[in-house]
Symmetry: C2
Subunit: 161 residues, 2 copies
Amino acid sequence: MSTEDAFVDMALRAWKLNVDRTGKFFSSLTEEQLLHEIAPGKNRLMYLWGHLTAVSDALIPLLGFGARLHPELDAMFISSPDRAVVQTLSGAELKDIWNKINEALWLGFSKLSASDWLAKHTTVSDEDFVREPHRNRYTILLARTSHLAYHFGQAILTRSR
Amino acid sequence: MSTEDAFVDMALRAWKLNVDRTGKFFSSLTEEQLLHEIAPGKNRLMYLWGHLTAVSDALIPLLGFGARLHPELDAMFISSPDRAVVQTLSGAELKDIWNKINEALWLGFSKLSASDWLAKHTTVSDEDFVREPHRNRYTILLARTSHLAYHFGQAILTRSR
C-alpha cells in the first residue's frame, strides 16, 4: 500500500468503526426504547439516529456519488427539531434506510483514489478551493466521523438506565 | 504541500477544531457549573474535562514526545469513576493543565513528518506492527479526535439548561 493510500485507509477505518458502533447500538433498541430522551427535555434516540442517517445520506451528492437516496429525511431530522414534525417512520424502517445509505457510501468510498479524496467536494467553488485546499472530500470524511462520535456519545448515555 | 503532508494537515485541523471547541466550552464554565451532571446520575462536567485531559496527557509518551506532564490525573479521572475519589483540583487549575498539555502535544505534532505519523506508536510490538500496520501514530490521532467529539457531545447537553 502506498503512503497516500495508507492515510485514506486509516480514515476509512475510523469512519467504519464509528458507523458500526452507532448502527449496532441503535439497531439493538426496541421501538419503545427509541422514543427515550437522551437527557430530560433533550432529543429522543430516534431523532438522533434519523439525524445521523440524513446527514450521511447528504454525503452521497456532496462527495459526488450520485443523488440522495432519502431526501425526505431532512424535513423530519434536519430542518425541524425533535417533536416538531409528526414522525411516522418506525425504527425497523430507519434501520433499513441506515444500512442502505451506509452501503452506498462504502461503495462510493471504495472507488476513490487518494487524489480523489484531496479533490474538492461539490459545494466549494473553484475560487474558494484555491484559497482553502483543505475543503476536500477527506476533510468532510473526518468531520462526519467526529459528528457520528459526538452524537453516539450522547446516545450511549441512555444505556443501563 | 505534498500529498502526504496534506493528509497530515487535515487530521491536525480536525484535532485542533475539536480541542479548541472543547477547551472553549469547559473554560467558560464557573467552578459551580463544572459540578453539574451531564444527565441525571451521570458524570459531572469536571470529571469529563479531567478525563479528556488525562487521555491527552497520555498521548505524550504514546506518541514518543517524552514523559507525561500530569500522570496524577489518572487516579482521579481514568482508573476511578466520578465521585469515587476526593477531588481537590479546581476548574482554574485544570484549565491551566489542559492548556499546557495541548501546547506540548501541538509542539510534538509539528515536528513529525508524514512517515513519522505512519510509524508505530510506543505500545505496539514490532511483530504486531508487521501484521497491523495501521496501528500507528496517525490512527491514534484520529481515534483521540473521535474521543474528544464523543465527550464534547455529552458535555454540550448541559448548555442552556
